[in-house]
Every structure is written in structure tokens, then in C-alpha cells.
Symmetry: C2
Subunit: 284 residues, 2 copies
């Protein structure tokens, strides 16, 4: 039986050095001379180790470099076996663990894991120069009486602009359209070793009746922007002061932020947004 | 023996329902009514399960919510046990896996994992309006003859500005100072399910003799910016065309990007950078 023999559901068969028939793990190629194994069916640990050893030997002959194994959490019993074969952790999500291995005798050039969470704060002002503000019922601002912009975390795969619209809708019931990013802040060690990128976004309201979210929001209202900006907490906190100043300059004298334009992506079929200073670019 | 009894190296002791003495896992409190267990010493799987059950019962009585367990890869034999007790994966890095569990009978409010990798592209121009460009010897541009800006991925915990300076130095040997972010692009599914944020940064060169990196860079040179911008690959690719246009407007007519100001962080002892349109804000 050869390596080109009949593929089974998740593997093909190979005769090992000692004559036993061993299943090879089914893998697809990645774009960097590596292979990806997406484990979906149950195997016992011993069979997995035999197949993994045979597969690595096979991939080494083929000149493959990185080996990715995605193990759903239901196959947690195979994690120890993979690590004992030299794999290490690359990343994990609630339902799976991605392990990785490097075949060549060189320092690996595998890409690093995601390093940043992305958050947004939304500056939403109506025609009366009132800004949409909330008080939260949990987290560091709970019970402080501080009125703040709606904020939130971008979901996996979500555009910053879409996330800002979604958070405003969820927290206050207000429909809004995205205008631009006014500023952003990068900070480190926000959750264990991970960093944060927080985008201050300006949105234009399309509705005006507030319906606050019960679970996270204590109160929500339209507040005159001068009243927002003179809150002691805003005046004394450097970051909040900057953001309030930017918003005031924005509405009084003009301040160009970065607005999104849709562009073709290099790396996927979906368009991606480029955020740029459209006002200054239009001088071109 | 009470729950306040003598702490051992990584646990304290508790008498279980059936009278056995069981070690409680040592945990520190987090800021959200949860606990963090940083496992450092070896335990066998059965002892770990007993301790974990007793600890969860103890934390439930204390009203704790989320439970984080950080397992170094050397303790991979405990992963299966934790998952069988109801834990799931939160995130992983090469040397450890972070598992998490939610004690209350409510939907959890645990923070999501990092979702984005952060990359930079560096626009570095000298006084002769020559731009620093490279050809790569691997990746999608290999062998295409395209001259491109130095690019790279931000390390964990690294500032965007510092990462841009580092990448320029590594790839070309050029020292540079950070000026501003000219634009940024968000794209999805760049590495499995993760997204990318790519910041186009302008830097001012402080040295001029190129010493290219052998491992990744095929060639590097100073190239007149008009010559860069008329490359067919740049003219026909929407994103590269936008970036070239922005750079040309920047040097010919003025284009305000976002430059970093250091601000106190809410969440850590370190300052963090806020990137904003300093030119427009200074009208204030």
C-alpha cells in the first residue's frame, strides 16, 4: 500500500518501517510551505501518536516546514500527546486549541499570535450640541457618577466602524452612522500580557429616543457637550481631557480624523477598510 | 483544620466532606470578583482534580465568579482534567495555556481573547525625496521585483512607534525617528480567524547608509518617490495606490496624520500613547 492509497475519512494509510499499516493525518497545505491538520474525528491517544509520527516523517520528506494541528476541545485527550511529540501552543479559543511544530532544523518563522484586543469609544452628538453619555453599572466607573461615552470591545471579525455602531445601539438604543476615527490609544498589559487598541470614533445619530440597555447601563442621556467636558473626572484625567478637547475642536473649528474607505484586501476575498485623513487627501 | 490553615507552597489545606485533607489551589483575586490560579509546581492529575473541586466549592461560597487557571506547557497533563471539570480555553501562548471557568448560574461576562495582530509599514524619506524601499526574499512579494516599504509585525507589548523604528532598523540598518501614523487598515481572517490592523507610519531617517538584513531582505535602496509611485504594482493595487497618494500629498501639500502623545494609562503603571491629529488640535 502506497502513500497515495485510499483516503479514509480523516487520513490515508501508509506502511510503517516495521510493516504495520499506519494512518497518515489528513492535512491541507498552507501558503508558507506548511500543513494544517484540522482534527475532527475521535482517535485514541496511541493511534494519534503513531499517525502523527508517520505524518511528520512524510511531511519532512516533502520538505514541509510548519505543522498546525487544530484540536477541538472535545479532543482534549490528544493535547498531551502532541506536546510530547514536540508541538507547542500557538493560540486557543473557547472551543479549540491550535498547536504548532516546526520540521526544519532552523529557527521557526511562524507568525505570532494575536496580541491586541480592540475597543471603541463613541462620540455621538445631536444638532443641539448634546452628546450621548452613559453611566455603567459594572467595571471601574461603576458608582462614580461619571457620565462617559458609550464604549465596548470589537468582536472577532468585526469592522471598527460596525462595532462602534453596534455598541451605541446596544447601550442606548440610538441608531447612528459612522463618521471617522478621531484618535486612538495603544496600551499594554490590559488583560494578562495582551495589549489594547482603543479607537475614539465620531458617529452621527439617526434616532434620538434613548432606550438604555438594562444589563450594563445604569443611566443614559443627551448632555450638553460643555457640561460633559467640565466634569471633574474628565478635566483631571489626561486621556479624557484630550478626548474632550478633540471633540470640542472637531465641532468648533474642524479637526480631521481618519474616515474609512473600502479597499480590496490582499489576503482575503472580503474588502477591508483603510482609515485615512480624507479631507487632506482630497487636496490631491 | 480550617480553611485559613497553614499555606503550603502552592496551596492551603481543607478537610473535604468525607474527612480527607485536600489542598486548595492558591489563587489571587482579579479586579472582577474572580480568581487567578498560576500553577507552577508539579501535581499529579488525581490530586489536581481533588484540589480543583474543593477550591471551586470554596470560591463558590466566597461569591467568586470567574476562575482563571494558567497552566505552563510542562503541566500539559492537567489540561484534560481541567476541561473535564468544566473549564474551557481562553487563550494560549507558546509556553502556557489559560483556561477559564464561570461559577455563577449566569451567562459569563469574561473578556474576550485578543483578536488582532498589529503590523506596520514604514514610509521613510530623505531630503532628496528618495524613499527607503526593499525587496523581500520570502512571502507573497518574493520574486515579483516590487519595491515596497519596510513592513513588519509588532511584538507583544511593543508600541507601534517603537515597532516601526525597530523594523526599519532590522531590515535596512537605517536609524529613524517616528513622526506619525498616516493611515491604517483593518482586515479580517488574516491568520485563521484573527484580524489584522496595519498602520502606515511616517518616519524621518537619522542615518543614510543602508545595511540590508540578510535573512529576509533581497535588496534595499533609496528610490525617488515618483519612481516608487509609478511602479505598475503600486498603480494597479488599490491599497498601495492610496498609500502612495497619501505620501505624495503629505510631502507636497501637507497631510495631517496622527502623532503620538504620552498619557497616563487607566489600566497599568506604564504610560500609553494616544495618537491624534496634533496639527488640528493645536488650533484649540
Amino acid at each position: 500500500m502506497s502513500t497515495s492509497g485510499c483516503p479514509l475519512s480523516t487520513m490515508e494509510l501508509l506502511t510503517s518501517d516495521n510493516g504495520d499499516v499506519v494512518g497518515l493525518l489528513t492535512a491541507s497545505d498552507d501558503a508558507y510551505e506548511g500543513v494544517i491538520v484540522d482534527m475532527k474525528t475521535h482517535m485514541d491517544s496511541a493511534a494519534f501518536v503513531s499517525s502523527l509520527k508517520a505524518s511528520i516523517s512524510h511531511w519532512r520528506q516533502q520538505g514541509k516546514k510548519g505543522v498546525w494541528i487544530k484540536l477541538p476541545i472535545e479532543l482534549v485527550h490528544l493535547v498531551q500527546a502532541a506536546v510530547e511529540e514536540g508541538f507547542w501552543y500557538h493560540h486557543a479559543e473557547p472551543k479549540y486549541l491550535m498547536l504548532v511544530y516546526w520540521i526544519p532544523d532552523t529557527v521557526h518563522t511562524l507568525p505570532i499570535n494575536a496580541t491586541h484586543r480592540v475597543g471603541i469609544g463613541a462620540f455621538v452628538m445631536n444638532d443641539k450640541k448634546e452628546v450621548l453619555v452613559v453611566q455603567e453599572n459594572s467595571g471601574p466607573f461603576q458608582g462614580t457618577g461619571i457620565w462617559k461615552f458609550p464604549t465596548g470591545v470589537i468582536d472577532e471579525g468585526e469592522d471598527i466602524s460596525a462595532g462602534a455602531i453596534r455598541e451605541v445601539k446596544e447601550e442606548t438604543g440610538i441608531d447612528a452612522e459612522f463618521i471617522e476615527v478621531l484618535a486612538f490609544r495603544q496600551s499594554h498589559k490590559s488583560l494578562f500580557e495582551k495589549s489594547d487598541l482603543f479607537f475614539v470614533c465620531m458617529l452621527r445619530p439617526l434616532s434620538f429616543d434613548i432606550q438604555k440597555q438594562e444589563s450594563e447601563i445604569e443611566a443614559a442621556q443627551w448632555m450638553p457637550i460643555e457640561e460633559y467636558a467640565v466634569q471633574p473626572s474628565v478635566k483631571k484625567h489626561e486621556l479624557l481631557k484630550y478626548i474632550a478637547d478633540i471633540c470640542l475642536v472637531k465641532i468648533e473649528k474642524g479637526y480631521a480624523g481618519f474616515s474609512p474607505v473600502s479597499t480590496k484586501s490582499f489576503i482575503s476575498a472580503h474588502d477591508s477598510f483603510l482609515y485615512l485623513n480624507k479631507r487632506d487627501l482630497s487636496q490631491h
